[in-house]
């Protein structure tokens, strides 16, 4: 099984060779799990100068020995992983493997039973800069299906963490305009969100994250129910945003797409089976270990 990694515009092969943020001796970085030896040379590719300039150099997310269960049912066990700024991480695993739980733990929506989570260097429960995280939940697409809300109103929600209780300023409205422009749905701004197609809806949610000027974008299976062409455009957009220095964490059920697009892959099935570069994931036996035998990565032509 081999994977052809496309060196396309969104796949940043060039600016990844000289990583200043961390190196192979970084103890937190994907060596401390036992299922798969992460043997990728040069896995320190994911550094992003523009992101580190502004807010120091702590990783976007750091998880140490995180365990979480719903009642007696463990959902995530002893996971340690670090996501550097500017990284594009694909989070994969079979159905019910705890991907969403892991993401919610990273974002501080859930609190771990054991272990420690940091967001941009702060313990997650003390992290207060809500505007720095853009989140698109699995349910975002059907949330508020009967609720009358326009695209513009949804995108404006991205400014609410900035505004607090004050009135929205001109700056807020400009940020919304820019975000709508960037994802190319300015002409749809006064449409009801639930009248949009799946692809347009996803763009609206991305715009919400952009309006909030988030530097971490976390998405839970955003392309479910989106047609192939819109999905292609969507990944193009994600690539562009990643190039601008935005850290991306993406849960995706389609392994082909995610291994093509993401820099790094974390594969979990309750425990972490693999965390390393996309190519090392394809070469490893993590896929089989996590998903069971007869699994393979299906690539899409594009």
């Amino acid at each position: 099984m081999t994977i052809d990694l496309h060196a396309d515009a969104h796949y940043r092969m060039n600016d990844q060779t000289t990583g200043g943020g961390h190196d192979d001796s970084d103890p937190d970085h994907d060596h401390d799990h036992d299922h798969v030896a992460d043997s990728t040379p040069g896995h320190d590719r994911a550094t992003e100068a523009s992101a580190t300039l502004e807010h120091g150099s702590e990783p976007a997310v750091r998880m140490e020995n995180v365990t979480f269960g719903y009642g007696d049912q463990p959902a995530v066990e002893n996971v340690s992983l670090t996501i550097e700024r500017g990284e594009f991480l694909g989070l994969v695993g079979p159905n019910g493997s705890g991907k969403t739980t892991l993401l919610l733990l990273m974002l501080g929506v859930l609190s771990p039973d054991e272990g420690r989570v940091e967001l941009f260097g702060d313990p997650v429960d003390e992290f207060a800069d809500g505007e720095r995280i853009g989140y698109v939940s699995q349910k975002s697409t059907d949330a508020g299906s009967t609720m009358p809300v326009t695209v513009r109103e949804v995108v404006t929600m991205g400014r609410f963490a900035h505004a607090g209780h004050r009135r929205l300023s001109d700056r807020d409205h400009e940020a919304v305009d820019e975000a709508l422009e960037t994802v190319g749905i300015r002409d749809l701004e006064s449409r009801r969100i639930n009248e949009l197609s799946g692809g347009q809806t996803q763009r609206a949610y991305i715009a919400r994250a952009l309006a909030s000027e988030a530097d971490l974008l976390a998405m839970d299976e955003p392309t479910v129910g989106v047609d192939a062409r819109s999905r292609e455009q969507f990944y193009g957009l994600l690539g562009d945003l990643n190039d601008r220095g935005i850290t991306i964490i993406l849960i995706e059920h389609d392994l082909g797409v995610v291994t093509d697009r993401a820099d790094r892959i974390a594969c979990i099935n309750r425990t972490l089976y693999h965390h390393g570069s996309a190519s090392s994931f394809a070469e490893s036996d993590a896929l089989e270990a996590a998903y069971g035998p007869n699994s393979e990565i299906v690539h899409h032509d594009h």
Binding site: V109, G130, Y135, S137, P148, M157, F160, H165, S190, S212
Partner: protein, 338 residues
Amino acid sequence: MKYDTRLRLERLGVFAVGVLAVVMLAFLAARGLAEYSSAADLVATRLVDGGCALGSVAGTRLLCFNFVWYSVATGVLVGIVGPLIGSYVVHREMALIGETLAHTAFAGVAFGIFFGSATNWGVSVLLAALVTGIIGAFGVQYLSSRTAAHGDVPIAIVLTGSFAIGTIVISLGRGFGGVSIDAYLFGQMAAVTQSGAQLMGVVSVVVIALVALNYKQFLFITFDEQAARVARLNVSAYNTLLILLTAVVVVGAMQILGIILVTAMLVVPVAAASAVADSFREAQYLSIIVGEVSVLVGVTAAFLYGLAPGGSIVVVAIAIYLVAVAVADRDSAVAAGA
């Protein structure tokens, strides 16, 4: 009609409703201060005289009576704050919770009657209803956070349980009080007292101020609670505030609508508005307009024909809802055909 034009018209409508509400609040405040200030007394008297003169031109002497003003003022305010809170309650799928709060408030009404031996919507009954309504709000909040997503079985148990306690207390009281509970169950025009109307005035000012202050936060948690959590909004605090405001509005609105029908004022105008509106703001404007029209038409009919005001208000609101749904269907059919 173009969205901008429509929004401008709706703003005009809301403004008119606002003017009406300010007049009513001024009347209630002036009546409250009349004891201490002759100027306030004069203001109240002038307002009634003015209403009386206007009403006489339209062929009714109803507005010449103070008690009518209390009912109308309460109705006008209910027509605003009901849909205002309702637009969050409905889209959070908390309609059943509103109903439950009305029924827990009924237990309070029953206790208020039992211990206060009141015969109308006296302030003691309303305060008792407010207390049990708020206790109910916390109880429901606790239950829905403990059980799987809006689990409706525990809520149904609280709803029927508190109503059961209310009926027991009422039947005990009836043994020696002979109180009629019809006014409480179905609402009664002439039963709105001065203090009851004034309580509604205070409630309305507080609710409108808090919704205005927290508009963004309420909208965010209503639309996408998980994302609001990630954006570090204190979701559970806003949820608690919202449910408390719901309890307060429900208790104030019970005077006109009665316990059984009070939820309709939170739900029906919002449903009508949501069928035709594009934006949340537009829906909120429209629902207030629908609520106000329903109240004014319903209250007038109730006075003229001696009907239960709650019933006539709700029937008018539902009629508007049906029209709105028909209009929305036609619009989408036109859009699909185009």
